[in-house]
């Protein structure tokens, strides 16, 4: 069972300040949507509205066509909301997982079975009799998730489900989450400030910045064509550089060539470049003049910090000779790993993926907020 979610003309105000504004956002039944944004972007506020924990200041939030403001407990019981901190009760793990089933008047024997199945799916069935508050952070997150899944909700809302876990535990947690959700038709909305976690299971990603939806799209679309610099930074572009696009489409940084061209976006722009899209060339080649500032190994590659007209991070394969600190070099950007974005506040015509064969003059990027 899955449910459709929608937000229409939603405004949420806290302390007299508007903290969330969503004109139109719909989540299809069974869809996995991630909400990506920095801290304070309004992600949790959005999730609380979907969970019917809060009512919107204006506008309407619906679950399966029923307004959360009018749905009451019956509506909330279609939804399972796991808060960022696990919020486990000071009782055993098993009783924690059984509690929402008890509230739904599931007979004792059946709820014990359902609770154990949920704990097994999250690989924590052996902890069933342990006091929940005594578990490690990772175990608590798993129990919290098992508690939410045990009721077989139509909608599962996860607020930073791996918050507080180290990188290794996060990877294992998300693997178990995928395993637990496999074969379920549940509609899932997950909040995260990490692009890799937001993209991992998502059919679509909603990017929230300053309470506004900046872009909605598949993880691939967001990576290839971020709507603006804030989206680019969130989806993992390592370098954001002020640039200028000439009338002929040449992209310059500090009047120097970058190796990029872009049609239909003349004027001030921002160039977003992944670190592995920064090409280091000899000092006699055309490009941006820089000086090698720092070289360090970084997870199977070399991280190279360069300074010149701008500061950049470059990634080089581990098996190429390391550049020497202090050497002069030139830098150009790999069109396949760069995007030219409209400068904030500029009269832009949209985002351009550089180096694409097909010019997109006049094409408007599908933005945001539906």
């Amino acid at each position: 069972m899955a449910a459709e979610l929608s937000l229409r003309d939603v405004r949420q105000v806290r302390g007299g300040r508007e903290v969330l504004r969503v004109d139109n956002l719909a989540v299809e039944p069974g869809e996995h949507v991630s909400v990506l944004g920095p801290n304070g972007a309004g992600k949790t506020t959005l999730l609380r509205l979907l969970a019917a924990v809060d009512s919107p200041h204006s506008g309407e939030v619906t679950v399966e066509g029923v307004s959360t403001s009018r749905g009451g407990v019956a509506l909330r019981r279609q939804v399972a909301y796991a808060t960022q901190r696990p919020g486990l009760l000071s009782t055993s793990v098993l009783r924690n997982v059984e509690l929402p089933l008890r509230w739904r008047k599931v007979p004792r024997r059946h709820r014990r079975e359902l609770a154990m199945v949920a704990l097994e799916r999250l690989r924590v069935a052996d902890l069933a009799d342990r006091p929940a508050r005594g578990l490690s952070g990772g175990q608590q997150q798993r129990v919290s998730l098992a508690r939410a899944l045990a009721i077989d909700p139509a909608v599962l809302l996860l607020d930073e489900p791996a918050a507080g876990l180290d990188a290794e535990s996060r990877a294992a947690f998300f693997a178990d989450l995928e395993h637990a959700l496999a074969g379920r038709a549940t509609t899932v909305v997950q909040v995260s400030h990490r692009a890799e976690e937001a993209s991992r299971m998502a059919d679509r990603v909603v990017v929230l910045v300053d309470g506004c939806v900046r872009q909605v799209g598949t993880p691939e679309l967001l990576t290839r064509r971020p709507a603006d610099a804030s989206v680019a930074a969130l989806v993992g572009y390592d370098n954001l550089v002020d640039a200028h696009v000439e009338a002929d489409g040449t992209v310059l940084v500090g009047r120097m060539p970058t190796g990029l061209t872009c049609g239909g976006l003349a004027g001030p722009a921002t160039v977003a470049v992944f670190a592995n899209g920064v090409r280091l060339l000899g000092n006699d080649e055309p490009g941006l003049p820089v000086r090698i500032n720092r070289v360090s190994p970084d997870r199977g590659r070399q991280a190279v910090a360069v300074e010149g007209v701008l500061t950049l991070l470059a990634h080089l394969p581990i098996d190429v000779p390391s550049p020497r600190i202090g050497d002069l070099a030139r830098v150009v950007f790999d069109p396949a790993l760069s995007a030219v974005l409209p400068k904030a506040g500029a009269d832009s015509t949209g985002v351009r993926r550089t180096g694409d064969d097909v010019p997109r003059t006049g094409e408007k990027l599908r933005a945001v907020g539906g």
Binding site: V73, A80, Y81, L89, P131
Partner: protein, 218 residues
């Protein structure tokens, strides 16, 4: 006629236990509402509760006596100089304390807990009951503190009860009376008994708390 000690002790316990029960029935829901609900005037009510915790019991006694006095607004009920009148006074003494501790206890629970419980489908009653269960040890402490405050107070019991032998005399008023008469030995004896009662109640509280904490840690 000197009343047997056990009768005074039993009356003290009856008055204070009754007052504690009634004060808990008022104070715990009120403290819960102040801690969890977004009600208008919440700040004002919180300030009233906090002030109430510091009001001298003799002032409470004076106020209750004025209301229950034969010519007072509730004088027709005939509660002045009765055990029931003393219970009313002690309820007013204990309620702010129980309310304040309840409020603090619930506010000290993990802040995400109410939202998490709502998000898992708890209705209002289920939410409140679960919050009380989570805060069971501090809530027990609140009731015990209310009881301790009630059984040890002398001001309101003297004014409202009148310290009438065989009717409204309780341990604290008996101590004051014996000191007034220069019977220090009797007063000290009563004091030791009262101290023993307080020690017993506190021991009970510590024992229950330790049991609860050891389960949570295990």
């Amino acid at each position: 006629m000197v009343e047997p000690l056990y009768e005074v002790l039993a009356r003290s316990a009856f008055v204070s236990v009754s007052a504690t029960l009634v004060a808990s029935l008022i104070g715990i829901p009120l403290g819960t509402a102040l801690a969890l609900a977004r009600v208008p005037g919440r700040s004002l009510l919180t300030a009233v509760v906090n002030t109430g915790m510091a009001v001298p019991t003799v002032v409470v006694g004076l106020a209750v006596a004025m209301v229950l006095w034969r010519s007072g607004p509730l004088g027709d009920l005939g509660l002045i100089y009765t055990v029931r009148g003393m219970i009313i006074a002690q309820v007013l003494v204990a309620t702010p304390l129980i309310t304040g501790i309840t409020m603090a206890a619930l506010q000290l629970l993990p802040p995400e807990l109410p939202d998490q419980l709502r998000g898992l489908g708890a209705n209002r009653r289920q939410l409140v009951v679960r919050m009380w269960i989570e805060a069971r040890l501090p809530l027990l402490a609140a009731a015990m503190a209310g009881f301790g405050h009630a059984i040890s107070e002398v001001g309101s019991s003297t004014i409202v009860g009148g310290n009438i032998h065989g009717h409204t005399q309780v341990m604290t008023t008996a101590i004051v009376e014996n000191v007034g008469r220069g019977e220090f030995g009797v007063a000290i004896f009563y004091g030791v008994i009262l101290l023993g009662l307080a020690f017993f109640v506190n021991g009970l509280l510590v024992s229950v708390q330790r049991r609860g904490l050891s389960w949570q840690r295990s």
